[in-house]
């Protein structure tokens, strides 16, 4: 789980920098296994941190 949490934190940081597509996130995380990517993505989604901007790019919503 720590691997998932660490990757979720990296994803959150990337989305904090600027909105991105899922493809861009994968490109920015070349060392991550797809399974862990999905688990990390799922954890951000379950925490309701993922939103989309007007262009459909993913962004990080403030934690509630």
């Amino acid at each position: 789980m720590s691997e998932v949490r660490a990757l979720a934190a990296r994803m959150a940081q990337l989305l904090r920098e600027r909105p991105r597509t899922f493809y861009e996130l994968l490109r920015a995380l070349p060392d991550a296994e797809y399974r862990v990517v999905l688990q990390a993505w799922g954890s951000l989604r379950e925490a309701r941190r993922l939103g989309r901007d007007d262009h459909g790019l993913y962004l990080l919503k403030p934690s509630s």
């Binding site: 991105r20 597509t21 899922f22 493809y23 994968l26 797809y34 993505w41 989604r45 993922l50 459909g56």
Partner: protein
């Protein structure tokens, strides 16, 4: 290549390998994780029977003319991959169709395209994918599944003859010419399990593995 694009995943294998089952599972899983998935099947991009079948060298002809893959990539897949949103009306023809009919594809903010069908790893298309899966099974298993599915709408004897004289020889051309197993990111064995269909009756013969 645009950076803000969708991921393109290809799921391919011989007829009856289980491509649709795997592609559906991938799409469902990605959707469960909240990703916006476009599941595209190549079957609508068949040529009409008068174009895809020929009595002269039927396997080679089918390999070359069964599908309108160039049109599919140009009109649907590559614009969708590169812009993530795409609205287009195209001509489609399914297995038993004798004429094209219009079909509109409407996708918005797609994260992953899961493209499923035969011949996706012909050499001309191998560079398009971010990730690709070859679903591997024997010709004998594939024939059993095809008979159980019966999607060509043919009597069993005619279906066996079609698979042994057209579809499987055409796939052997594909295997030899394009080496799709080596080109795929991942080879998934799928030669067992309950979806294989019943054994082929001896009267129908069987496809060599």
């Amino acid at each position: 290549m645009p950076v803000a694009r969708a991921v393109l995943a290809g799921v391919t294998g011989i007829d009856g390998a289980g491509k649709g089952y795997l592609a559906g599972g991938i799409a469902d899983t990605l959707g469960w994780y909240g990703l916006n998935v476009a599941l595209v099947n190549v079957d609508g991009w068949l040529n009409l029977p008068s174009v895809r079948f020929s009595r002269d060298n039927p396997a080679e002809h089918f390999y070359r003319h069964a599908l309108r893959l160039d049109e599919m990539f140009d009109q649907l897949v590559l614009p969708l991959r590169d812009r993530r949103s795409h609205l287009v009306t195209v001509d489609v023809a399914e297995e038993t169709a004798t004429a094209f009919r219009p079909r509109t594809y409407a996708f918005e903010d797609v994260d992953v395209i899961v493209l499923e069908g035969i011949y996706l790893l012909k050499r001309a298309y191998q560079h398009h994918y971010d990730v690709s899966f070859w679903v591997d099974c024997s010709f004998e298993t594939a024939l059993r599944r095809a008979l159980a599915r019966g999607q060509e709408g043919l009597p069993p004897e005619e279906m066996v003859r079609a698979y042994e004289t057209i579809y499987f020889p055409a796939q052997r051309i594909h295997l030899e010419r394009d080496d799709p197993r080596s080109a795929a990111s991942l080879v998934i064995p799928n030669d067992g399990g309950p979806r294989n269909g019943p054994p082929i009756p001896p009267s129908l013969g069987s496809a060599p593995a």
